[in-house]
Each structure stands twice: as C-alpha cells, then as structure tokens.
C-alpha cells in the first residue's frame, strides 16, 4: 500500500536490507515433508511396527500409552500404534488411487469438451452439472451403497465424485487457451485435434491441474476416512483410521487414545496435503508472474 511504500525515504533507503522473496514457499516445503513422511510410512510402515496390526493382547485391553504400547491399546488389546502405522498405507493408497482415477478421467473429459466445444461440450457439461448436484459425500455413499461396502468400491466412488469436478476445472483452463494465438497457429497449419490437445494445450495447463490435484487429494483423504467411519469403506478388522474411530468411539471416555491416535494421523495427513496444495499454488503463481 502507498502508506508503507514511501516511508523513511531518506535515511532508511541506504541501510534497508531487502529480503529476497522466498523462491520456494515454506508451506510447500513443510507440506511436502509431511506428505513425504506419510508416503514413506505407507511403504515401510508394515515392516517397522512393534506388533502385527491384528494381534490381540488380552491381558492389556484399553491399556494407556506405555513403553510396551506407545499409543495404548484398544478394547481387544491390539496395539494402536501398530494399527495406525499399518492403516497409513490403506488410507494413502485409497485416497491416491481415487484421486488418480478422478483426475485422469476428468482431465480427458475436460480437455476434449473444452477444445471440441459445440453440442458435445454442451452434453458433457450438463452431465457434470447433474453429477455435481449431489454433495460429494452423499454421491460417494450412494455409489458405495450400490456397489457394496469395501475398499475398492470406496476408491471407485471417489473417482466418480471427482471426475466431473476435475473436468470442469480442466475445461475452463482449456477454454482459456482455445483461441490463443499459438493454438490458432496450429489450426491454420492443419494440426490434428489430438496434436493440439496434447501437444499445444496440455503442456500449458499443468499448473491448474497440479493445484486441483492437490485439492482433490485432500478431499480424497477426507472421503476415505468419512466413508470408513460410516461403515461404507474398509471393513473390520482392517486398521483403517476412520473405522478405528467409529468402532472404538464407545471407549472415548475411558480410553481417549483409542480415538485420539487415529484422529491425529488423519488431521496431520490432511494438513500436510493442504499445505502442499497451498504452497504449490503460491509457487506456481509466483513462477508465472516472474516469467511475465
């Protein structure tokens, strides 16, 4: 603002140390680190846990955190730390796959619809309108109800919920380049539709797609845990975080750790993904303005 721009013009100007703007935003680094940690846990987690996730310790049911059971045990005496770590790969895999499905289909539909236009675009967009008339979680619930409650169907339902939303974002990015000069130059040369879509347009719309993918990923984690909380995702005895909270809720008061541990895992993963998305958006925007 003007008020800050011109203060202390005289004496401070010479001594002012100008802090260079961060080239990579802090949120991108922190978010990337958190997400990276969860990814690592998803891969190596099962090998480093003190106990198998489904091992019963009947002698220590609902035991509070201790040296033996770092985060305590549940009502069957299963080690919560081991279960949460094991659950990582399940959640990360489900959310990741659902996002990939949704983004891939949405990308294809959005590119095609946006570039080709006309009545095909009209029909595709009316269809996405209809699909987007359902609140995301409810559509996912409906799909899982139809296909059956398990992990794979939960992943599919996430893909179905995301496809129209991603398609919309990609379509509007595509429309922004539909009549840009280098695309028109390709049309004048007589390039094929697929050349124009994949070689001229696609390389230029990665930034919004990457940002959207990050946003989708965080919703995907939310949907995964919400579906399993509602009993529509992974089924017992899977060490799913949402499922753990749902099943152990009755012991919330006597042993809060049964809920707090998976809750902490959920929240930190989503915060990580959100930070990654925010940072990515900031970084891409800064790069764009710097190029101009």
């Amino acid at each position: 603002m003007s008020e800050t721009a011109a203060v202390n013009v005289g004496q401070a100007a010479a001594s002012r140390v100008v802090k260079p703007p961060r080239l990579v935003p802090k949120s991108l680094i922190v978010g990337g680190a958190i997400v990276g940690m969860f990814l690592a846990l998803a891969v190596i987690g099962p090998y480093i846990t003190p106990y198998p996730f489904d091992k019963f310790h009947f002698g220590s049911r609902l035991a509070p955190p201790s040296a033996d059971f770092w985060w305590g045990t549940d009502r069957y005496g299963r080690d919560i730390f081991s279960r949460v770590i094991h659950g990582t790969s399940l959640t990360v895999f489900m959310a990741g796959t659902g996002t990939i499905i949704g983004v891939s289909f949405g990308l294809l539909i959005g590119l095609f619809s946006g570039y080709v236009g006309g009545w095909i675009d009209e029909i595709l967009m009316r269809l996405t309108d209809i699909a987007m008339s359902f609140p995301g979680l409810l559509l996912a619930m409906l799909v899982v109800a139809a296909l059956g409650s398990n992990e794979i169907n939960a992943v599919l339902s996430i893909g179905i919920v995301f496809t129209p939303k991603v398609a919309r974002v990609v379509r509007s990015a595509t429309l922004g380049l539909r009549h840009i000069q280098f695309v028109e130059a390709a049309e004048v040369r007589g390039e094929t539709n697929s050349f124009i879509i994949f070689r001229e347009i696609l390389p230029n719309i990665w930034p919004p797609i990457i940002v959207e993918t990050c946003i989708r990923l965080s919703y995907a984690v939310l949907l995964v845990v919400a579906l399993s909380y509602l009993g529509l995702g992974a089924q017992p005895p899977a060490p799913d975080w949402g499922l753990m909270i749902a099943k152990e809720r009755a012991f919330l008061v006597t042993g809060p750790w049964v809920v707090l541990a998976p809750a902490a895992a959920i929240v930190s993963l989503i915060i990580g993904v959100n930070l990654l998305g925010d940072g990515m958006r900031e970084w891409l925007a800064a790069r764009k303005t710097a190029d101009e």
């Binding site: 011109a6 013009v9 280098f182 101009e292």
Partner: protein, 714 residues
C-alpha cells in the same frame, strides 16, 4: 546514496512559458529513485529523475515500455503498488512535501488537488457501482456539497465531458459504456474538484484513433477552462506535438532529454529522441523510398545496469567513451529549460525530417499483374444466442454482420493493407482467409482453387501456402516449446526439408529474421516482445508460403521495435515474393508498407486503391476522418480537423444504406441511410463507395499538408 541537492536549475524563464502557465511550480520531483523487487532481484526502474511542472503547464513524459514513466506517475500520487518502492528522492506539491504527509493529509490532496486519469478505463472503474455514484464519491469526500448538490455537480461534469444524456449515464454501470465513454467518465472524475495538477497515464492508449482525437480535444478544452497543470504520460510522440508545451523523454529509467516541444521536435539533441521521431514513418514515406531508422537491440537489464550511457548499446552514434563515462544532463541552448543526457550531441549532424513531396498526378498506379487471391462477395455473420423470447415466439435469429459483401483482389508479391477501427471486420476478414473461421457466403479463390472454409478442410498444400502472423507476441508462441521446436514444426508437418536438414533450415530461418541460430534453444519467456514476433515471422516463413495474413503484428510493440519489424517484413517480401494481407489500424505503417489499401467500416469497404490514391483527395469521408485523427510528431505538418459525432450503429441485422451515415460529417441526406452507396472509380484502381457527387469529392482539400502548402503529404 545521499540526499543530493537538485541538479536541475530554476524552472523556465517567462519568455518560454506556455499561454496561461506561470513559473510557479506545482510539482517538483527531485532525484527520484524507484525500484521493484522480484525473484530476489532489485530492478532499478527509475533512477535520479528530476521534474518540474509549473502551474497551468502541460508537461509530457514520453517513453516506451520499461522506461519507468508510469512508476513516476504513480509514485507522485503515492500510489505505487506493493512490489514497487520509492527508494530515494523528494516530491513536492507546491511547498508541501508529499512524502512527509500522514494518511489523512495525503487523502485531502489525492483526488481533489492532484487527480489522475488512467490507462485502461475499463479496469479503472469499479464494475459494481453506478457511474454517477463513483464520481459523486469524489465530490462528497472533498467538498461540503449536500447530496443534491453533489448530484448536480456530477451531472454538470458529465455534461462538460460531452457525454450525451448525463442523467442516463449517471445511472449506468461501467460495462454499459464504450471505452471512449469510460475514459470521459474518468476525466470527469479527475476534474471533479478542479485539480491543480492532473496526471494522465496513457489516457488514449487502447482507444481508436477517432476516439483518441475526441479525448485529446476534450482534455485541451478542460485544461483551458480549469487551468490545471498536466503531467501527460505517453509513448506517442504525435500526441505530444498536438498539445503539450514541454516534453521529457525517458529511456530505461532516466530522462535523456527535456525541453520545449517546439525545440525537441525540430532539433532533437539525443540520439534516442531522434530515432523515436523518425522510426515510425510519417505519411510521406513508402517502402520504395528507403528503409526505416530502427533502434536495434533491447532494453538494458535494469537489475544489472551497464556503466556509462544507458542508451549506448543501441545507439548509432556510440563511441567507446559512451560506455564508460557517466553522462550528466547538459543544457541545450540558452533557455534554462532544455537538457540532454548525451556526450556527443554537439557533434551530431543537424536533425531533419526527410520530406518526400510527390506529384500526385504523376504517381504510378500499381496494377495487379498476377492475381493470387480473389475475395468475392464475402460475408461473415455471427449468429447471436437466441434468448428465451425468441425461443418461445420463434422470432428470427439475430446476426452480427462482421464482414458484409467484400470484394478484394490480392496480387502475388504485393501487400494489401486492410485499415479500419476496432470492430470494422478487418480481423474477421483475415481469419476467414486463413481458415480460422468459415464465411457465411461468398468465395475465396486462391490461384484458381476454391478455398474450403476451415483450414483443416483445405488441402495440405493450400494450407501451407497461406500463413498468419498474430498481434500479441506474448500469446503467439507456445511457452512450453523452444524456439527451435516452434520453427521446426511446419518443416516437419509439410515435409519441406529432410530430417537431417531441419536443424540447418531452422538456423537459416532464424538468421533471416536477424536472430542468432543459438536462439533455437531458447524458450519464449527468455525473449523480448520484438524477438518473439521475429520467431513468429520465422515460423510463418518456414512453411514457404505465398500469402501471409499479418493481423496487427506491430500494435503491441514499441515504436522503435516496430520499425525494425517493418524493415524485416519488407526485406523478406523482396526476397521471397510472398504477398501480405496486412491488417492494421495504423495509417502511417500502412502507408509505408502497402501497395494497395482497403478502408473498412462496419464490415463494408469504403475505399480501395494505392496509398498514393487513398491518402490524397478524393477521399471517402471516413478515410478523411481517420487521416484527420492521427497524430504526427512533426509540428511543421498541418492537419484539417474533422471529428466524427453521432452514434456508432449496432452491427446487428444491418439494413441497407451507408454504414457510415450516422457519423458522417459530409452526409448528403436521407439517401445515405436508405440506399447502398454507389461505386465511383477514379483512375484504374481507385474505388470509393459514397453518395457524395463526384465533383464534390474531387474538390476535397488534403487533410495532411506541410505547413503553408496546399499539397497533400503522401
């Protein structure tokens, strides 16, 4: 840096004052330094500027993009955006130090005693509020006017800026007005409190020439009635000649020359000023006469400044001393008003505009020998989306008549220019020729081949032979492809050279557009606007076309770069015999480049002929108005004043009659609106569509003349 005392001596002596001006300074800027911070770099956009604007005076601050002129304007208003910082210097308004004011005191000056008019009126007005309310705010904030009085004041202001129906405009939203009207609103807002200083930041950039002429007339009138001093920021030297008193020329953050307009435009001292004045042709220069004086090279990197003269790298008069001696302002002449920042200005030959007077009657008329493209009865209509009402009542669809019954012939190796203001259909015409859209009716015949509507439906070889160069250099290249890839693609697609040869051919093409072959590895964001446009030209020529449609290829470039690109286009045409269809709104450029000129208005042709025919009488009244509206940076040239009044007709479902009738200053009568104008043929080629009797057309006076002469400048 320390607070250096002002190196500029006392302001103008009384003898060189503008009428109505005093030698009392309104604005005094001393040693201003402005920097921008991006990617950890300090970009020193403005360095050590001194400026004085006296009461009642108009000072022009001229410069191309990157010169820092707008930063000076905004920091004077204390309105620099967040990335920019005033590092050093002082700004005094009368005796008040603007930098020491608190927010409240500053606000009492902003908008009332110092006001500003902005470059892009569309974004400068708040889309969510009515026009009247936005102006009334200024009145309410700075005066004690009651609600009713404020409203009355706003209505008076709207009337003063010649907006028709002030009460109606009061209630409109910005998007309901045209660009010219929006700018009038901003001017009304600026004059709301009779400012002592008005800062105008490129107020006519982006407006059509006829609108620009109106706005400039208006500012001149208001200046007289309000007596405000004006700091007028522009890149257009022609506008400066028209109504400014003094001028300061900026280059890359420094003032390189300052002085009275009368002196600077007749005896410019700095090489940069000299080039600016001559790099864009006046109406008396044709490509057959000589090449243009271009300024080669690009702006220095303001984050890493060279030593010595800032202009040295691009200067034709450069000597070694220029690159390592720091150059100070040197007074020119005896008046204490004129300065130049150049070591060698005394040694340079006297400046002269070259004059080409031609005997109009003896001029050869280019005859079309070898027809390349025939455009026959071409019509391009866009259908408007049908509303609910039409849907229910089954009413007829509405059409925008973008191009309406146009006949043109383009010869091999020649340039046909299409001239007109925005919305005249010139771009649609060009897009139809290259196959970006298909015509509603009519034929395009290219060397005897009927062209299909859309490029993809045409045969590959026909497609190859017609290429296009676009307007906006920033959008013309795919940012994700290297220059080499971009140029190689047409070679590949049309199979012009073998794969092994491609690399050499790319290098050759780059060299033909005066770029080093190493540019093949660069990406568009590493190039300047002019360089991008050169790559686009290389891409078009890679296909070895016979016709290139050039859609305003210069309008986004600075004048110094324009000249270089124009020279390049002329050279390439000479060697390749490629024909150009050159679409432009700039009459001087068209005059220089073209063999045939077609003037379009609202989808119809008004006039067509060689430039020597079109730019001298007999004129179509619209051509006459266009010529009158252009600004020529030469005070020794006279212009007839013709201004267009009247509403621009809607381009929807046009009936018969002359499209120009509603604004025509020479309207014959009712017949103009009723019947399509007849065709007059003058000489072999010169066609003109108008109802004015032939003998009256022949009696017209030239619009642009050398002072004291009756001959047209052409």
């Amino acid at each position: 840096m320390n607070k250096a005392p002002s190196p500029t001596p006392a302001p103008a002596s009384a003898s060189v004052l503008e009428a109505g001006a005093t030698d009392r300074p309104v604005l005094t800027i001393r040693d201003m330094h402005i920097s921008y911070f991006a990617r950890g770099q300090e970009i020193k956009a403005v360095r050590g500027i001194n400026l004085t604007v006296n009461a009642g005076e108009t000072l022009a601050l001229v410069g191309e993009s990157g010169s820092g002129k707008s930063s000076v304007a905004f920091s004077t208003m204390r309105g620099l955006d967040a990335a920019g910082r005033l590092m050093h210097g002082s700004i005094h308004f009368h005796e008040t130090d603007l930098l020491s004011l608190g927010p409240r005191e500053l606000r009492s000056i902003q908008g009332s005693r110092i006001a500003m008019v902005y470059q892009d009126p569309q974004t400068a007005l708040n889309p969510a509020f009515r026009i009247g309310e936005q102006i009334a705010e200024v009145v309410n904030e700075h005066t004690a006017a009651s609600g009713w009085q404020a409203r009355q004041r706003v209505l008076d202001l709207l009337d003063e800026v010649n907006l028709p129906d002030p009460a109606g405009v009061y209630l409109r939203y910005p998007h309901e007005l045209s660009g010219g009207q929006q700018q009038r609103v901003l001017i009304a807002m600026a004059f709301a409190c009779n400012p002592e200083l008005l800062i105008m930041d490129e107020p006519t950039t982006g407006l059509d020439v006829t609108t620009e002429a109106h706005i400039l007339d208006l500012v001149a009138k208001l200046k007289k009635t309000h007596g405000s001093a004006i700091l007028y920021i522009t890149h257009n030297l022609g506008v400066v000649a028209r109504f400014c008193h003094r001028v300061a020329v900026m280059y890359a953050g420094e003032i390189v020359e300052e002085g009275l307009v009368s002196r600077v435009f007749s005896k410019p001292a700095h090489p940069y000023t000299r080039s600016l004045l001559t790099c864009i042709p006046r109406l008396d220069l044709s490509k057959r006469d000589r090449a243009l004086n271009a300024i080669e090279g690009r702006l220095p990197n303001l984050a890493d400044l060279p030593g010595g003269c800032i202009f040295a790298a691009r200067c034709n008069e450069r000597q070694d001393a220029c690159e390592n001696t720091s150059v100070t302002l040197d007074p020119v002449g005896d008046d204490a008003t004129d300065f130049v920042r150049c070591l060698r200005w005394r040694e340079m030959p006297e400046f002269q505009f070259d004059r080409h007077t031609r005997d109009v009657n003896a001029m050869h008329t280019a005859t079309i020998l070898d027809t390349l493209l025939e455009i026959e009865n071409l019509r391009c209509y866009y259908q408007l989306r049908r509303g609910i009402k039409e849907f229910v009542t089954g009413g007829a669809a509405k059409y925008v008549h973008a191009v309406d019954d146009v006949d043109l012939v383009l010869a091999r190796g020649q340039t046909l220019a299409i001239v007109g203001e925005s919305g005249c259909g010139k771009t649609t015409l060009g897009r139809t020729v290259v196959g970006l859209q298909s015509a509603t009716a009519g034929d395009l015949v290219f060397e005897g081949n009927q062209l299909a509507g859309i490029a993809r439906a045409r045969e590959p070889d026909l497609r190859r032979r017609i290429q296009i160069i676009f307007q906006n250099p920033d959008a013309t290249l795919n940012p994700q492809k290297s220059v080499g890839e971009t140029i190689r693609r047409p070679l590949d697609l049309f199979g012009l050279v073998s794969a092994a040869e491609q690399k050499n051919r790319v290098a050759e093409l780059l060299q033909s557009v005066n770029l080093p072959p190493s540019f093949a590895q660069r990406y568009p964001h590493e190039l300047s606007g002019g360089e991008k446009q050169r790559v686009a030209i290389a891409r078009a020529f890679a296909a070895e076309p016979e016709l290139i449609v050039c859609d305003e290829p210069l309008s986004a470039l600075d004048v110094s770069v324009q000249a270089a690109i124009l020279n390049l286009l002329v050279d390439l045409q000479k060697t390749s015999k490629t024909a150009y269809m050159f679409i432009s709104h700039d009459l001087s450029v068209v005059r220089y480049l073209s063999d045939q000129v077609a003037v379009m208005y609202m989808g119809r042709l008004c006039e067509i002929g060689t430039p020597e025919e079109v730019f001298v009488p007999p004129y179509h009244p619209y051509t006459e108005a266009l010529l009158s509206a252009i600004s020529i940076p030469d005070p020794s040239i006279e212009q007839e004043i013709v201004r267009l009044e009247g509403p621009v007709p809607s381009p929807i479902n046009l009936a018969s009659g002359c499209r120009f009738a509603s604004r025509c200053p020479r309207k014959v009568g009712e017949i103009c609106e009723r019947e399509d104008p007849p065709l007059y043929q003058f000489g072999d080629n010169h066609r003109l569509y108008c109802h004015i009797p032939r003998e009256d057309l022949e009696k017209m006076r030239p619009v642009i003349r050398y002072a004291g002469e009756e001959m047209a400048v052409v």
